[in-house]
């Protein structure tokens, strides 16, 4: 009885060390919280247009038969700046349709930001109070969703997209649905 009690802290240590080691070496991303959106129909989309004189954004934009990228961004967000050139390239070289939604940002600040950096978005809306983002399960900006031609969410990236992500995005964009 006494012996086993003595071993208890040691066993705890072994278990903890094993868990930490596995966490470090298995390549698991502890920051990843996954997404419940992938495989489901795209959530509701309705947002006022960022560009004056253009109609508001609606669900119809997501069901055109062509894959669409939906990107939540903000002018105050540095990672959005980092991923911005990738969207420019996707639009120019791949002809991708990208819908941008400015999250918790002043529309005039967003417009100035896009004027400075260039505007790769086919349609751009804003979600100043973040209500639309609730439906989309947004955790912050930037986040990007790939929605196929049938309006099903195929990919959901939390954080900026990078060169490595293009290998997943491009086949889906090119292959249609």
């Amino acid at each position: 009885m006494n012996r086993t009690l003595f071993l208890l802290p040691l066993m705890m240590l072994v278990i903890l060390a094993g868990f930490f080691g596995w966490s470090l070496l298995s390549g698991r991303d502890p920051a990843s919280i996954g997404s419940v959106m992938v495989g489901r129909a795209a959530p509701r989309l309705s947002a006022p247009s960022l560009r004056e004189g253009e109609p508001a954004l609606t669900e119809a934009l997501l069901r055109t038969g062509k894959p669409v990228l939906v990107n939540f961004f903000a002018s105050w967000c540095a990672p959005c700046l980092a991923e911005h050139p990738l969207f420019t390239r996707l639009k120019e070289r791949e002809g991708a349709t990208i819908i941008g939604i400015a999250w918790k940002d002043k529309p005039e600040a967003t417009r100035a930001w896009l004027a400075r950096l260039g505007d790769p978005f086919a349609k751009a809306g804003y979600d100043t109070d973040g209500k639309l983002a609730l439906d989309w399960g947004l955790s912050g900006v930037p986040e990007t969703y790939l929605i196929d031609g049938n309006g099903i969410v195929r990919l959901h990236f939390r954080g900026p997209i990078t060169e490595r992500d293009l290998s997943v995005i491009l086949p889906l964009l090119r292959g249609g649905s």
Partner: protein, 419 residues
């Protein structure tokens, strides 16, 4: 201070770990003593009970025998245990002393990075753009746009505007900037700035391979002392690492003495060393003369010229500088060295030769306040009879000299003579 605190902490930890190891022996002795004390108390109690009549004599005898039996058993156990415990004890401490440092060393060799340079906070913090700077950039953009409106084919303005727009967009090479840079590169395929920023645009757009290819070309075409090479290499390493691509190989360094040769040189006597150096210099010269003036030879000629200059062989150094200059115009710093070996050959009081004047004039053009050029060009003017020009150059030089410069008096004398 920090190191001292860490050492203190380590000592405290080791002491805390060591204490129980060394004390185990004593604790066990204590146990026998306390066992014995308990049994003595019990014996005394049995005696007291018997005296009060609470126990019969037979009962008391039985109890005493039982207690004595236990007392003996405890003593026996104490005698038997030390054997087992001591052998365990004898090996535990040395084994730990050996195994823990070995384990630590192994771990350090595996994951430690003793060669990693320190990263002081000051070096890492990048000054943030002040409002002042952003206003400057906006002004530059406006000025460059105006220049392009007048002259749409101004390559310099095209690539400068591309750069300014990139700065304005917090380092993102925007689509507009890319268009401008591409136009600049069409008109001047050697525009290093346009190549660099278009490569950066590729990298930002997620095409690291294209970026590295373009930057590799830029590196190939850049002169070996181009000021942007260090930044370029850093960027190439960064992009390759981020994209998980193999790090681009550094361009092959020009042939020079190897580590072994340098070491061997150190061990020679001064005379032998001089001999060896001369041998290497002659070898280099022979190799360069055999080669038919390839642009890559420029570095070789410059190294030869420098060696001759250091050895004091001024006429040969002059020739080597001329050869290097023919393969690629020399920068001001090298022009100064070239001019120096020229004027070293002058007899005191004579005017520099025509060849020397040509070099000095180029040096003066590159660095209008170069003392060497001002002094000897003045001397050349004076010898030619152009006294006003000599006076002008020497007066410029006089103004540049510190008040206590030893040649002031001599120079003032010369000016007086010319006037």
């Amino acid at each position: 201070m920090l190191e001292f605190l860490l050492a203190l902490l380590t000592t405290a930890t080791v002491a805390a770990l060591l204490a129980p190891l060394l004390r185990r022996q004593i604790v066990r002795r204590d146990r026998l003593a306390s066992d014995t004390a308990v049994y003595r108390d019990q014996l005394a109690e049995v005696e007291r009970e018997r005296g009060r009549g609470a126990l019969s004599v037979a009962e008391a005898d039985a109890a005493r025998t039982e207690i004595e039996r236990r007392l003996l058993a405890a003593a026996d156990r104490d005698k038997a245990e030390p054997e087992a415990d001591a052998s365990w004890h004898r090996f535990l401490v040395p084994a730990m002393c050996l195994l823990i440092p070995l384990f630590a060393l192994g771990l350090y060799l595996r994951i430690g990075q003793p060669g990693l340079p320190a990263a002081p906070f000051v070096a890492r913090s990048v000054p943030a753009a002040t409002p002042d700077q952003s206003r400057d950039v906006a002004q530059a953009v406006a000025a460059l746009r105006a220049r392009l409106a007048e002259k749409p084919d101004d390559v310099e303005a095209l690539s400068a505007l591309g750069e300014a727009l990139t700065h304005q967009a917090d380092g993102v090479v925007t689509a507009e900037a890319q268009g401008l840079l591409r136009r600049a590169l069409e008109k001047n395929p050697d525009d290093a700035r346009a190549m660099f920023y278009l490569g950066l645009a590729d990298a930002q757009g997620g095409d690291s391979r294209a970026a590295l290819k373009r930057w590799g070309e830029l590196e190939q075409r850049s002169p070996p002392n181009a000021p942007w090479l260090a930044t370029l290499r850093e960027e190439m390493q960064r992009v390759a690492r981020a994209a998980g691509l193999p790090a681009p190989a550094a361009p092959t360094p020009p042939p020079g003495p190897t580590q072994d040769q340098m070491q061997a040189m150190q061990n020679l006597s001064p005379a032998d060393r001089q001999q060896a150096i001369r041998g290497m210099v002659e070898g280099l010269e022979a190799r360069l003369r055999a080669s038919s003036g390839k642009p890559e030879d420029r570095d070789g000629w410059l190294r030869l010229a420098n060696a001759r200059r250091v050895l004091g062989e001024n006429d040969k150094a002059v020739e080597a500088y001329a050869k290097a200059d023919a393969l690629g115009t020399l920068e001001p710093r090298l022009l100064a060295d070239w001019a120096e070996v020229h004027v070293r050959q002058l007899q005191p009081g004579t005017a520099p030769s025509a060849a020397a004047v040509a070099v000095l004039e180029r040096l003066e053009k590159a660095e209008p306040r170069n003392a060497l050029a001002l002094f000897y060009l003045g001397a050349a003017d004076f010898a030619r009879g152009d006294k006003p020009s000599a006076v002008r150059r020497w007066k410029t030089l006089l103004a540049l000299l510190p008040a206590d410069a030893p040649i002031r008096a001599m120079l003032e004398g010369k000016i007086k003579e010319a006037e």
